[in-house]
């Protein structure tokens, strides 16, 4: 019998898991994917917002401001890079200055420290590559950036060390009440628990309904992004927002903690909760949006694009509450922006709710606030590198050359608590494959290391869990399977016609 089941291994679920691991209770987290941070938490703007966007009194406002205060300390404890670079909401038109003033006042009511409106000249000094037409900006010195999957993984690792169980590839398919508690079923097995915490992100509405708790709806709102090569990393320093609209903070231009720049997201409501496909129109939209803020975007330096889905509830605010219909069921739904920033505050709130609902929470001795040492070879000085290679020669074997990731770091990523099981798992833990060549060079090497460490056949290695195997066939497996005669006769093809004209644009 568990004291609590957390459904969902995103930042919200993992933050709650980490905070619950301080107490002397039995907790399990169920995740439908093969790793944590596989949904909204891996594909968002990764901004630790200051907290002036949300209307005073809303969950969003309260959680954001408190989360912003808590964030640096948690990152420090868990050795997660966090940069407090501040944000700017930029007014390009005169009419937008009014909105900046409104945001300034709203921020002050919310309790955001240090907000000020700065004029054109100071702004251009801060960010010389901004659109020279900018009139003014709202400067928020408390905003920052973090790597969203690294943060989520760190929380999960820490929770695991402190005794939280994690079960992957385990979508919840049924929740039944029993003996004042629940039986939570997955396709393979079931768990019994007193409390259920629903942190299922895009699917939290379905989970709530499954349990017979309050009904609400989650609409996926797609946001698309483009990431630029690190060589353009000095283009801007702060998080640059446009003046926001009613539904979104708009398309921003933003640095990442790893030294890249990204643009995005746009904001489109869709139906399919699994549709993370990037669209042609979307790419055009974010380029146009990005150019409004920074006209000289180095578009030839894009290294990849991706899309993420925000979980937007019909209440348009976070839903953080114990069910009034089903005792012991807690909803944590609709956690869209500023959900990432809010995670620490949401976890605090959930713990208060659990206490009120009668969970016996006693702090346990021996809680470890840190996680096993993380090695980042690319950031070390040569003396440290030398020492590490002497201890473990695998540090001298660079596997990912774009991001300078060594074999030792990849092996560590696999052997850590909740270690990587796939190429994406390695990528999110080490950055191998995230550089400008996007795994062109290292993916086959990483695949071999995964097969060796996990003691599986290379054919079983996946990109991101079952069904995403990288290789299709073994050595000469397809020969003789089909008749090759059919293609050995020369067939007419339109191929060598001389049509000059268009210049080479690629």
């Amino acid at each position: 019998m568990y004291d609590a089941v957390i459904i969902g291994g995103g930042v919200t679920g993992c933050m709650i898991a980490r905070e619950l691991s301080r107490y002397d209770i039995k907790v399990i987290l169920l995740e439908k994917e093969e790793d944590v941070a596989c949904g909204t938490s891996k594909a968002n703007s990764a901004v630790i917002h200051a907290g002036f966007d949300a209307k005073p009194g809303t969950w969003k406002a309260k959680m954001n401001v408190r989360g912003n205060v808590l964030f640096p300390g948690i990152c420090d404890e868990l050795d997660v890079p966090y940069i407090n670079n501040g944000s700017l909401v930029v007014a390009v038109e005169d009419g937008e200055i009014k909105i900046l003033e409104k945001l300034l006042n709203q921020g002050r009511v919310n309790g955001v420290p240090g907000l000020e409106i700065i004029g054109h000249d100071e702004l251009m000094k801060m960010e010389p590559n901004l659109n020279t037409k900018v009139k003014a900006a709202l400067y928020a010195p408390t905003a920052g950036i973090v790597c969203p999957y690294e943060f989520t993984i760190a929380l999960a690792e820490n929770a695991a060390i402190n005794g939280v169980e994690f079960r992957f590839n385990s979508p919840v398919i049924e929740i039944a009440a029993e003996d004042g508690g629940f039986i939570v079923k997955t396709p393979h097995d079931f768990v019994k628990t007193r409390f259920v915490i629903n942190a299922a992100g895009l699917f939290s509405d379905e989970i709530s309904k499954m349990a017979g708790a309050e009904e609400y709806t989650i609409t996926p709102r797609k946001g698309e992004y483009l990431i630029f090569d690190k060589k353009f990393g000095s283009l801007i320093k702060k998080v640059i927002f446009p003046t926001p609209s009613e539904i979104s903070k708009g398309i921003l231009v933003c640095p990442t903690v790893d030294g890249n720049i990204f643009i995005g997201p746009n904001s489109n409501d869709i139906r399919d909760k699994t549709d993370v496909g990037v669209t042609r129109e979307g790419i055009e939209e974010i380029i146009e949006g990005g150019k409004k803020l920074v006209p000289e975007l180095p578009l030839s330096g894009v290294i990849t694009s991706f899309a993420g889905l925000r979980a937007v509830s019909n209440t348009n605010d976070f839903i953080i509450e114990a069910s009034r219909k089903v005792k012991g069921f807690v909803n944590v739904g609709g956690i869209q922006s500023p959900g990432f920033t809010s995670a620490p505050a949401i976890a605090e709130t959930v713990i208060e709710i659990l206490k009120e609902e009668g969970m016996d929470l006693r702090e346990k001795p021996g809680f470890v606030p840190t996680r096993p040492r993380k090695y980042r070879f690319r950031e070390m000085d040569n003396l440290t590198r030398q020492k590490l290679i002497e201890e473990n020669p695998a540090f001298g074997h660079v596997i990912c050359r774009c991001e300078t990731v060594t074999e030792a770091e990849i092996v560590d990523a696999i052997r850590r608590p909740l270690g990587a099981k796939s190429l994406d798992g390695i990528k999110r833990r080490t950055r191998a494959g995230m550089g400008r060549c996007q795994g062109g060079f290292c993916s086959s090497r990483v695949l071999s290391i995964l097969a060796r460490e996990l003691k599986i056949d290379p054919l079983q290695v996946t990109k991101c869990g079952p069904g995403s195997e990288i290789l299709k066939g073994g050595y000469k497996e397809f020969i003789a399977e089909k008749d090759m005669d059919e293609y050995l006769n020369t067939v007419e093809v339109e191929s060598l016609s001389w049509k000059g004209g268009a210049t080479n644009a690629l």
Partner: protein, 121 residues
């Protein structure tokens, strides 16, 4: 009955598309060529097209999986399939030197398949 075939000459970058009329394996007519070098190429292409086959065979060595190999000379295009099938079961032990024969007389062509690199450990 004569047959018409199009052949792209690859002797030079011009890449002439040459139309060939054949009857019983004999060339009746050629059009679209610009130089003599094309002529021999097209004749061979139409009557007995040949290709060098390059592929891999199994290599029994630590840290290596396959060994690149080639036919020493071009073999008939029609026998490429047979050659690939034959090579499927070939495996080579180290040390191997570039030029070593890994399979004699592949697909009855009289042409040997040789290693295209050396491997000592």
């Amino acid at each position: 009955m004569s047959d018409k075939k199009n052949v792209t000459c690859i002797i030079c970058p011009v890449g002439c598309r040459i139309e060939v009329e054949i009857e019983n394996g004999n060339i009746l007519n050629l059009s679209g060529y610009r130089c003599r070098r094309s002529l021999q190429y097209v004749k061979d292409e139409v009557t007995s097209p040949k290709r060098i086959l390059t592929t891999t065979v199994r290599l029994k060595a630590k840290g290596a999986h396959v060994l690149p190999v080639r036919t020493r000379a071009p073999i008939p295009k029609s026998l490429l399939k047979e050659a690939m099938k034959e090579l499927k079961s070939v495996s080579v032990a180290i040390p191997v030197k570039m030029g070593d024969v890994v399979l004699k007389d592949v697909a009855g062509t009289g042409v040997d398949v040789v290693a295209s690199r050396s491997w000592t450990e």
